[in-house]
Symmetry: C2
Subunit: 408 residues, 2 copies
């Protein structure tokens, strides 16, 4: 018997029939003797419908009022799920974010959770009731309704698990776990039984969009055991996200190959190699609210150096124009870029203590005649920027080279 | 400059375009220098959609959870109206029932308001903001979401006006006031400039469905000045509902002719004329949760009496079966009934001090050959039950007989 927080996303509760399915799954866990807190998103499509209504009234909706309207999506789902459980004879009670209460700051549409009051939930659990909580929402100190931003229901689930010291936080989604890479690119991709928090973080930020980054960070901070499961399959243990080093002793060196094609590269060539140059280049970009991902600066020669970074592809033209504007001020020879790139990353905590990962990666790509444009490394990943056209090929050959198609 | 509570029903806010219209009307009142609290219903059709969703999940929805789901309807409207006002440059802030807070008992789906906290609203009004409040909803002492039942938004409006000691509570609807009778039956029907609370109460309960009875009772209890207006007409002062006797000094004797055809009549003939017989007849009916409207018992002769009452037509068969079941126990000769009846009432505070109203009414009906089945009177109304086929004729001739087609 354990205390489990289960989170079901919009697709899992996309119709009343699916809500009844979720109720059956919750009832089954309850029958196994677990205490359950269930977090749900709005029915799929509902949040977009509500936002569209708001935009019909105000082209740039007031954030406070937007949250008032949008938060109704999850409120409908909690009530329906409670009814579905009662229909199965399982006692349940629903809570809005404000009712729990989930206290946030006042940053409407992107609020951050500050505190969770667990008294009402604990009383319900003690009375044998399933607790159902609206994801994605909270209240600030003045009682204003806030939302956590897109994907915030995952964060609600993890935050509740942390507050309740739950044994596990199960995120039910439309995939049945974290894979060694995207099965649509590499059919041999395997589901990982476990993945470490750091790997998951790299996998998520690198484009394996199973979980919201913020919820994973949150889980890491509070040491919440996260498990990703499919809400459409009856069987399967999904993928457990772990935080304990010793659990990883037996793990493979490399866990997966992540990739994305959302980015664009910008090069500033021949800038004076002097202190402050990185700030002079990236300051104006940051001022324009453009997020920068990879940043590469090589050791300079002959008093100048080359500086490269990647931005989201949507920000490419804007960032390029900004750099062209400051080029003479910086004293750079040229500014150029490319938005036909992709990023491929080899991720694994095992690489910390194993040499040769980088050389295997580079050799594998070289054997296929794939040119590497940029390289960036962290303790648990090596990322390369390639011409976009090589993406599938690179992912496939790396997946094979690191033996990810073999059962660990 | 006055403090005005305005309430807009579901039809008035039935689309984003109509919500923008309401915003323009509110902005106009604001520009005239008034302090405004605006109560809104769910967009028309929305409450029914939400109830249907609930019934898909649970055939007999759990009342607590039903309120959680259904209350989202008004929550969407308050956010949208606040945005529409901001779009017009008018500062506004929305409140759910729980945020105000409107404290109710815990009778889910039909809660009663117990207290309203006016602090937040007063602070907003002082700051020049329009306050927007979700109608129909509140919270109980434990923070559970409650709803006031159908039509509860009117009650919210009146209750807010009472709590804030507002100068007037304006109910915007799809009619432009209270008429001497239904203009669809009598084209000469006129809009009343004023109507007393008691008359309104009789008119509402007798089928002039402009306002919810409960809200009118509430207004009477707290002496709230109620005005009924059309949300679709730019001009017009609607009908003011008054509570002060002296305002009625100059009023016509009869204010209007109310009617309905929702009822059915049940007769219990030849019951022993002894104490407790009324309870023996009506007790089983009340136990079956059937509401009884008119009750008539005549003076008995030869130790027996006849007992008649009316119920809603939907309850007719059920009530009839109940009475047939207890007939022998009561010792009644026979039980019969008729569901092809109508009720027509002449209403007016003036009749208190004027004789001859009843005789004018009965003579007028007799002249048309209309047989009267039952008669019931109160201080300000006389109701008769007639064969349903005479309804339109009876209303027309009475409207003329009491001079209601003439300007007062």
């Amino acid at each position: 018997m354990a205390l489990i927080v289960q989170k079901y996303g919009g697709t899992s509760v996309g119709s009343t029939e699916r809500i009844r399915n979720v109720a059956r799954r919750v009832a089954k866990s309850k029958a196994e003797g677990h205490d359950l807190v269930v977090v749900v998103s709005a029915m799929s499509g509902e949040t977009n419908r509500l936002i569209a209504l708001c935009k019909e009234v105000q082209s740039n909706p007031d954030p406070r009022e937007l949250d008032v309207v949008v938060s109704t999506g999850e409120q409908v789902t909690i009530g329906l799920l409670a009814m579905a459980l009662k229909e199965l004879g399982v006692e349940a009670r629903s809570y809005t974010g404000g009712q729990v209460k989930i206290l946030t700051d006042s940053a409407f549409t992107k609020a951050r959770i500050q505190h969770i009051d667990d008294a009402a939930m604990r009383a319900d659990l003690a009375a044998g009731r399933v607790v159902i909580v609206a994801g994605f929402q909270g209240v600030d100190e003045l009682g204003n309704i806030t939302t956590l931003g897109r994907g915030g229901s995952d964060t609600t689930g993890v935050a509740l698990a942390a507050a309740l010291k739950a044994d596990e936080c199960q995120i039910y989604t439309d995939v049945d776990g974290v894979y060694t890479t995207d099965p649509r690119v590499v059919p041999e991709a395997r589901r990982l039984k476990t993945v470490t928090f750091e790997e998951m973080l790299e996998m998520a930020s690198l484009g394996s969009k199973v979980l919201q980054i913020r919820s994973v960070e949150f889980a890491g901070k509070y040491k919440v055991k996260l498990r990703v499961l499919s809400s459409f399959q009856e069987e399967g243990d999904g993928t457990l996200i772990t935080f304990e080093e010793d659990e990883n002793m037996e793990k493979a060196i490399i866990s997966g190959i992540a990739f994305n094609r959302d980015e664009a590269r910008i090069n500033v060539v021949g800038v004076p190699d002097k202190p402050g140059i990185a700030y002079q280049i990236l300051g104006p970009v940051a001022d324009a609210n453009i997020d920068v991902d990879m940043i590469i600066q090589n050791v300079g020669t002959e008093g100048t150096t080359d500086f490269s970074f990647t931005v989201h592809r949507n920000d490419y033209q804007k960032a390029l124009r900004i750099l062209e504007g400051v080029q003479s001020h910086i004293g750079a020879k040229s500014v150029s870029g490319d938005d036909k790139i992709c990023k491929v990353s080899v991720v694994g905590v095992g690489m910390r203590s194993h040499v040769g990962i980088a050389s295997t990666m580079f050799r594998t790509l070289a054997e296929e005649g794939i040119n590497i444009q940029m390289i960036s490394t962290s303790e648990i990943k090596i990322s390369v920027v390639l011409d976009e056209k090589y993406l599938e090929l690179a992912v496939r050959v790396l997946h094979k080279a690191f033996g990810l198609d073999q059962e660990a």
